[in-house]
Symmetry: C2
Subunit: 239 residues, 2 copies
DNA sequence: ATCCTACCCCTTGCATACTAGTGGGTCAAG
DNA sequence: CTTGACCCACTAGTATGCAAGGGGTAGGAT
């Protein structure tokens, strides 16, 4: 990995709240910086430099980095340095596989939920998000569109009553979002995603586990479109 | 949670290897102790006491505990203490749900794998494990039987080529194994598990995604049998 | 010119010390 | 005897310093 000791985090992001553990806050800052590609794959992260930037000691920074390495966002090489994880086709496909497994289970459970009220509540919430996404698409607001996409999937997962499911989905999704943030404007993305989301909701509304699962599966295979382009466009970010 | 500052770890488990990070080794020790119920749910874990027992400082112990809290094995209450997580019906069902989602995806992928050689290799490996399990069942060796069960599921997951899938399955399984270790001898367990494992392999051999998924799903719902008994037998370990 | 070696700087891993906050136990007052 | 306040012991969170090892660079030898 290329050694780039320069850290690009904003000085104002030093603002740590005093009523929460510093390590936890730093974890969030760095995670968001990695997802949004402020910190680039392969870039070196210095514990010392980060500690200075946040105005704390190395200890909380170090604890944050350990957690980031647990979720695969950074790689700690003892005595050598800590680096933002590069992309690899294997890891992206792996994240996609895990996410599909979980999200298929989510919609399957939801579609077969005997409580009609829960189903219609979920459908209503998601249809509202889809409507907002149509607006975002009309405005060509890619960021808002992606945030709503997050919202859509988190809302669905929320109806399982298993909070860790939503957490896992978010974590796996983040790995792909990192790639996606390299090229927000893929032709026809809005229209495809919208129709896929609608298909999922339609299947849930119909109470069909098979169709829900199939629709979700199709939706999550959509990243393949991006993966055919990005690695050639940005080989420097891949291992 | 009850305060029990006594730590029951064996003195000989102090043996830490010098060629691996201490934090990682300590993590493994404590995790195994929790799964095997050496450390009981609700019991307090003192960073200082553990550090003394392992002959290291608080720092690596603390880093291990952070990772254990990430996988839900301990709960860190700031300025109050770190405690072994108690069981809760919600968390167990959640772990079961996540595990089923992943394992269903695993057998589905395997059953539909176009490469016949891979399928038969997986089937052979699993059938060997099932044979060993029959022996363990005949010997009434519950520990060996459970280790082989672990083996069975890890072997299946290994054929996805996605290492994190196996890791996740192992982690979620561990939450249930903790409960299972409270009562290793559930009547008829051996026979049921064996027939379920066989059914899974048979479906994979037949190349049927639906039957494989269904068989795995049935198998993983078997824990419900235990969950009807354990909470009443050991209410002190549940929240 | 090229290769090899020694050194130095920078990295993470670990140890130790200090801070702040919680809970329990004790003692005094009602 | 009960109740309340205060104090102390112990907790996790953070700061700092030291140890061990890898890598690049400079300089000397070939």
């Amino acid at each position: 990995m290329a050694k780039q000791p320069l850290i690009i985090m904003r000085p104002e992001s030093k603002g740590l709240s005093y009523d929460r553990p510093a390590a936890s806050q730093i974890f969030g800052f760095i995670r968001d910086a990695i997802i949004s590609m402020e910190l680039l794959p392969g870039q070196m992260i210095s514990e010392t430099a980060l500690a200075q930037q946040f105005g704390v000691s190395r200890t909380p920074v170090r604890e944050a980095l350990i957690q980031l390495s647990n979720i695969g966002f950074v790689e700690v090489l003892p005595q050598r340095g800590t680096y933002v994880s590069k992309f690899s086709m294997e890891k992206i496909l792996e994240a996609r596989f895990i996410r599909e497994a979980l999200e298929v289970a989510v919609v399957t459970q939801l579609a077969t939920n005997p409580d009609e009220a829960v189903r219609s509540e979920a459908v209503d919430a998601c249809e509202k998000i889809i409507a907002d996404q149509k607006t975002a698409a009309a405005d060509d607001d890619a960021l808002a569109f992606q945030n709503l996409d997050d919202n859509f999937h988190q809302t669905l997962a929320g109806f399982t009553q298993y909070p860790r499911v939503a957490t896992f989905i978010e974590a796996e999704k983040a790995h792909m979002d990192r790639v996606r943030n390299l090229s927000l404007h893929v032709s026809g993305q809005y229209k495809r995603v919208l129709s896929q989301h609608s298909a999922i909701i339609k299947a849930i509304k119909a109470g069909s586990a098979e169709k829900s699962a199939a629709a979700m599966s199709v939706h999550l295979k959509d990243v393949y479109n991006i993966l055919e382009v990005i690695p050639q466009e940005h080989p420097e970010y891949f291992v």
